[in-house]
Every structure is written in C-alpha cells, then in structure tokens.
C-alpha cells in the first residue's frame, strides 16, 4: 500500500514537471516567435513619422546642428545626418540631399536583437527608445539596424564641453531624464539614437508645432523639407503629403516598414 503511494506521488510530481515544462516552452516560444506588430498596432494611439522632401532640401545641415543643440549629443554621435550624392543616372549633376533620422520602423529589426530588452518600440506612439539604465552596451542592435541610425557613446566630448567645464554640467533633456555627462555613467557606454525629441511631448504624448514642442530638425529646417506628424491621423500634414505625392521608403525589401518617407 505504502509503496503504491510513493509511486503515485512520483507520478504526480512527474506530471507536474511535464505541465510546467510545457507551460515554460509555450511561454518562451510565444516570446521568441510571436509577432509584436499586431500587439502594438492595437494599442498604438499615434504613429509618429516623417516625410522628407528631397526636392526641397538644400543641404544646409541646420537639422544636424539643431539636433545636437537640442539633445546635447557628444562628439561622434549624430542622430540625424545629411547625405549629398550626385546620382549616376540623373541628367543633371545637381546633387541630391537627404537627411536621415531614425526611421522608427513598424517592425524594427534592432529591437528583437537586444538581449536585455533595453531598446523597445513604445506601445502608445511607436517611437523606438533605449533604456539607458538597462542597456549593457553590446552594440548588437547597431549591427542589426540597416540604416545606421544607432550610435554608441564612446565617452568622447567636444573640447568645449569636456569634463570640468561649465558646459559639461548642462544636462541633456533626452527622455526628460536630464542626465549630467560624467565618465562611467550612462549614457556613456550605451547605444543612443534619435527619439523624435520625445522629451517635447506633453503628458498625453502629443506634440505641438505652435508651442515649439516639435522635433528639433523639423522645427529648424530652413527649406521646410522635413515634415513631422501622426501617420494615424488621416488629416495630418504628413498624411496629406503622402496622399498627394510619390514617395519612397529606404530598403523597403527588408520588410521592416520604416515610418520615414521621402518625396522624390
């Protein structure tokens, strides 16, 4: 009788472990292969994006400077850049200028690479952000971004904002965290990227162009080539532009659906 008891208990524990293992396996496989896209689409109130008119861009690089001034990015980190290129198959030799922030893709390839989920796409507005306190600095996401939109903070400074100068004490408003730049502390040793200046959003997650709470590059653009807005709102400036013009998105073939469009 007693023996039987022991066996049944064993069996019971065995069954329990099996159920537990099955549960764990389902959880892990859901996490590993499940689609984030459908989950975010339902909750996503805003889908912020940009429309950049390459025909208007004059290549002044004011956006690059405005971004640096707004976010206080150090030497070697450029959340936005301006490319100039003379296209081979164009009849004129007028260069094409193009500014390139982070594209905040609908299916970002960088996010799934992060071993600690330190970078993620915000559910409410689709902006891809980095949690500086969690990022371990492995730079895997940088290899995974097909647009080189991610930058590692090596800890270098412009001479004017080097350590122990008054400028160094001015914190960066990024993520409304106002971190002071000190050696060995985040964001040094972290991966950094364009955030569409989310520190300028209000409590409801909205920007306001009139009040100046608008991404620095779009606000500054001298040629009015950078348009910013909510792609979920059919009457937003960006959606009207996309309805009325031909546009391209870069590296469409990768299927990651960037939220930055170029008018050509």
């Amino acid at each position: 009788m007693k023996k039987e008891n022991i066996i049944s208990r064993r069996e019971f524990i065995g069954q329990l472990t099996k159920i537990g293992a099955l549960g764990l396996a389902t959880y892990v496989s859901q996490k590993a292969f499940g689609s984030t896209e459908t989950a975010t689409n339902n909750k996503q109130k805003h889908r912020y994006g940009m429309v950049i008119d390459t025909r208007r861009c004059v290549g002044c690089r004011a956006c690059v400077m405005a971004c640096k001034a707004e976010n206080g990015t150090p030497l070697g980190i450029y959340y936005t850049l301006v490319f100039d290129e003379i296209l081979q198959n164009k009849p004129s030799d007028k260069p094409i200028y193009m500014t390139k922030p982070c594209f905040h893709c609908q299916k970002p390839s960088c996010v799934d690479m992060c071993p600690v989920s330190a970078t993620f796409k915000r559910e409410e507005d689709g902006i891809v952000v980095v949690d500086y306190d969690r990022c371990i600095g492995c730079r895997y996401c940088m290899t995974a971004c097909p647009y080189s939109a991610r930058w590692f903070d090596f800890g270098e400074n412009y001479p004017a904002v080097a350590e122990n100068t008054d400028y160094a004490a001015i914190p960066s408003p990024e993520y409304n965290q106002f971190r002071e730049r000190k050696p060995h502390t985040s964001p040094i040793g972290n991966v950094r990227k364009c955030t569409f200046c989310i520190h300028l959003q209000d409590e409801e997650g909205k920007y306001n162009k009139k009040e100046g709470r608008w991404p620095a590059c779009a606000k500054t653009c001298t040629a009015h080539a950078i348009f910013f807005g909510d792609l979920n709102d059919p009457e937003s400036e960006v959606n009207i532009l996309l309805r009325e013009h031909n546009y391209i998105r870069l590296k469409e073939e990768l299927g990651i659906e960037p939220n930055v469009y170029y008018l050509i």
């Binding site: 071993p115 371990i136 940088m142 995974a144 090596f154």
Partner: protein, 411 residues
C-alpha cells in the same frame, strides 16, 4: 634539459603577456571605450573576433573529449581530460573577451533578470553559462579521484589537491564508477549544447538581415565546422606539448592529425560554397563584404594568413609523409588554429565595413564614422593579456593535472 628551457620560456611568455595585458585592462576599466578603435560603422572589432574564436576553440576541444567519454573512442583516451581542460580554459578566455567588449561590464547579469527570448545573443549567454557550469562539473568528476589521491602528498601540490577535491575522500571502486557514469552523462548532454552554441554564434551573425555578408543560411554550419577545426587543431598542438606529450602522445597526435584534416577539408568546402554563391549571384550588397575580404586593404589576411598559412600549408603537412611525424602534425595544428583567427576577423570586420547607406561616411568627418578599422594598442594588449591568462592556466594545468601515464594506468 631541453624541456625545462622550453617550460621556462613558456612561463616567461605567459607572464609577459599577462603583464602587458594588465595595461590593456587598465585602459579598458578606467577609460572605457575611448581608446578603442572600433566606431559607429564598424561596431565590433578585435574583441568580438577573439570571442568567437576562443568559443570555437572550446567547442572543438569538447568534441574530442566527448569522443572519449561518450563514444568510448580509445584512440583519444589519453587526452580526454586534457581536452576537457582545454575547453574550459578557452571558454574562460572567450567570456573575458566579450565581457571587455560590453559598454557596461557591470550589467552583464541583466541578461538573466531581463531576458529577451527573441535575441540570439540572450540565448547564447544562457547556453554559455550552462556550458561553463557543465564543464566545471565534468572536470571535477573527471579529476576527483586524482585529487583525492593527490591529497596525501605533503607538499604544496597536495594542499591544492585538497582544496580542489572539495572535501571528497572516497577512493573506492564504486565511487570511481559513479564518477565515470556522471562524466558520461555530462559529456552526452554537452554534445548538443556545444553544437547549439557554436552554431548559435553563427546564428547570431546570420540573422542580421541588415548585413548581407553575414545573412546566409550557411553561417551557423560554417561557424560550427570552423569551431570544430580550430578546437581539434588546438588539442593536437596541446597534446604534443603538454606533459611531455611530444614523446608520450605520439600516436594520439598523429590520429588527431587525420581527424583535423578531415574537418579542415569540410570547412574549406563550405567556405568555397559561400564564396562562389555570393560572387556568382553578384548582388552588389552581397559581394561588397567579400570584395573587402579578397581585395581590400587587408586582403593578405585572407590570402596569406588564412589561405596559405592556415589552410594550404597544413593540408600539405597532413597529406605528405610528414603526416606520420608528430612534430609536423603539431605544427599543422598550430597553423590551422592560427589561421582560423584570420577567418574570424574576416567574418566580423568586412561584414560591418560597408556603408549601409551610400555616402554615410562622407556625410560627416569623424574617426568613429569610418570604414577603416585596425585594432588600437589597448585592444591588442588586452587580447594579448587574455592569451597570457590562458597560457598561465595551461601552465598550471600542466603542473597539477594527473600525468597521462596515470590516465592509461587507470583503464
């Protein structure tokens, strides 16, 4: 007499490398990444290449030991313990290399508390951690008896054995049978683990669709095979120089030579197939990386280091009559193991050294936005330090591990 000179030279070299490595670690720990030469275009450099190289060595060495403890291969019986030891030392070297590469070294444990199961890198870290524990357990049960016996010595060695035996005193036949059983289980579990993690490193690179040079279904297999080649080659070399193996392990070394030749030829086959498909397809993005490998500034790494030194000469040494001489076979092992490091560099750097958007590196002038990469002095020194640390551990192993005659006696 000759061996004592060689031994002294080995120890001096190991300590020298550790000393210069300390400078590299000092720079890394106190100045972060400022002195490193990788940047925002080539985001991974020498340390990542060293990491995949050392981890490959570990996988290959473990395979040799599994042939003994799982498949009861008598040819390699003499070097079973040695290859588990090699696997452990090279794994520690790999983990040190990748640890130095992290932006925040103190946050390495975050992978355990904030897991992301979608990230191949997270899976790699779980696999490595489990594999490291497995190796520690396996090596303990392999050597437990030797430590218990060694305890009886009154000297320093005896005291070390006492610590390493972890309080075990059992020398009975029964306990030795139990050890053997445990080792067999651990070695069996280790095989899929080794395949998963060395293929997994290839997956880590292969899934990156943004980098056409890496994004190939062959990558995990290629990583696995070259890991095995380099590991077996290293074991060949180590069994020739470890504990007078030169005279005692003669037949084992020659056997290992045959095995490594077989693996090397498969590896060459896979690499040629990768190369041919890329070039015949001719998609600019796909061949951009290969163009850097074959005709870029560091093309000599591919043709000279990897091709001639790491592949051609060893193949010749292993098929000509020199294949019967342990000296030449050991040399071939050294060359192959060194050549695979060139292969690792040629995977990491050319894959990244391509502008993702044309004009990226001319849009701004900054040394972090550059397609050219050569490791900085501090990067080299830190890596040399890790090699010195590995040699140091090997030296200790040479001294403390039971001599191979005792191993044969046992069976």
């Amino acid at each position: 007499m000759k061996t004592t000179i060689l031994k002294k030279a080995f120890w001096i070299l190991a300590i020298l490398l550790i000393l210069i490595g300390i400078y590299g670690w000092y720079i890394r720990l106190f100045f972060g990444h400022t002195e490193a030469n990788y940047g925002n275009i080539i985001t991974w450099g020498l340390w990542v290449a060293a990491y995949i190289y050392f981890s490959g060595l570990s996988a290959g060495s473990f395979l040799v030991s599994s042939m003994v403890y799982v498949f009861n291969d008598t040819k390699f019986e003499r070097i079973g313990k040695l290859s588990v030891f090699t696997a452990l030392v090279t794994l520690l070297m790999a983990l040190l290399s990748i640890w130095a590469d992290l932006g925040h070294m103190n946050r390495v444990w975050y992978v355990m508390v904030y897991p992301n199961f979608k990230s191949p890198m997270a899976w790699m870290i779980y696999l490595y951690s489990t594999y490291m524990l497995l190796l520690f357990c396996e090596i303990y049960f392999l050597l437990r008896y030797d430590f218990v016996v060694g305890k009886k010595q009154a000297n320093f060695k005896g005291r070390i054995c006492k610590i390493l035996s972890l309080g075990s005193n059992d020398t009975s036949e029964k306990s030795r049978m139990r050890d053997k059983k445990i080792v067999k289980i651990l070695a069996t579990v280790g095989i899929p683990m080794v395949i998963l993690f060395s293929g997994g490193v290839g997956t880590l690179f292969g899934v990156v669709s943004a980098r056409p040079h890496w994004h190939s279904g062959l990558f995990p297999i290629l990583f696995l095979i070259s890991a095995l080649v380099s590991g077996v080659a290293l074991v060949t070399l180590v069994s020739a120089i470890f504990q007078d193996g030169f005279t005692k392990n003669k037949s084992t070394v020659v056997e290992l030579g045959k095995f490594v030749l077989f693996l090397l030829l498969i590896d060459v086959l896979f690499q040629i197939s990768e190369f041919l498909i890329a070039y015949r397809g001719g998609i600019p993005g796909h061949i951009a990386g290969w163009d850097i490998v074959t005709s870029g500034q560091y093309a000599w790494v591919f043709w000279g280091w990897q091709g001639v030194i790491g592949t051609l000469i060893p193949i010749l040494l292993l098929i000509l009559p020199t294949r019967k001489s342990p000296v030449w076979v050991a040399l071939a092992g050294l060359l192959i193991a060194a050549g695979i490091f060139g292969l690792r560099l040629n995977i990491v750097i050319p894959g990244l050294a391509v502008e993702e958007i044309h004009g990226l590196t001319s849009a701004i002038f900054n040394h972090r936005v550059d397609l050219h990469y050569f490791p900085s002095i501090s990067e080299w020194l830190l890596t040399f330090g890790i090699i010195g640390f590995g040699m140091f551990l090997f030296g200790l192993g040479e001294y403390f591990l039971p001599k191979s005659e005792e191993v044969t006696e046992e069976h």
